[in-house]
Amino acid sequence: MTINPDLQGRSYPAAEVYDVGREKIREFARAVKATHPAHFDVDAAKALGHTDLVAPPTFAIIIAQRADAQLIEDPDAGIDFSRVVHADQRFTHHRPIVAGDRLVAELHVDGVRAMGGGAMITTRSEIFALAADDSKEPVTTTTSSILVRGEGQ
């Protein structure tokens, strides 16, 4: 299986809406062993000036990996998921993610580089919050590189 070099520059538009719930923030926070009260106690979050529970710094990976799945599962991409290794990850927060947010992610394929028999693929998710009138506010930009190992790699 070979990686389609034409992937570079491709975009996948925002698909489903991700509703950020309080219990999901608490569950994710426990899963990364976070103990800060702003993840668990609404009053503690409000005391810091937030409207509701604040998500941990890496929470957006849930939304970003859902967006990435569109690429990985695209038969045209030629990616064998069992050979994928996560190489790097970055989160840039334009504002914190809080409970009650309705988030969508636009996926961009920023780079495809052949490496041996495999490829390094860099993707960027632009995550927006939808307002009541469906206008979009930038929330988080995530970038990630995955190495798709070739045969014998």
């Binding site: 999901k24 990364v32 103990t35 970055r90 840039t92």
Partner: protein
Amino acid sequence: MSPSFHELSAGQEIGSRTIEVTRTDLVKYAGASGDFNPIHWNEAFATGVELPGVIAHGMFTMGSAVQLVTDWAGDPAAVVDFQTRFTKPVLVTDTTGTKEPGATIEVSGTIGKLDADAGTARVDLTVVSAGQKVLMKAQAVVKLS
């Protein structure tokens, strides 16, 4: 109490902590994140794809390592940028039914750079498991008052 920008200097240590990891933690992270790749919970599958055994999600290590920064900053929302490279896997042995961890991750942080215009401090994290650096260029940018 959150740190004040003017009291900080490059090279200053912000603290350290030890994270104990069990197979149960990896199952919890899989459920919370939606990443159900079996290399993070199934020994036979992991060794079948030429790994030494079950390994932690890179995102588990990244997500738990940053808690040192979150707690130091006093507000999780102060972490405005966070990046890393994943260099070595964290091997988590099966200690189910005992009180022993399957792996330990040592995290320490120092101030790497201060940006007076932006009012931010870059915290550089050193993240080690089984004597090896498992994250590289693990940098969290913190917005300070």
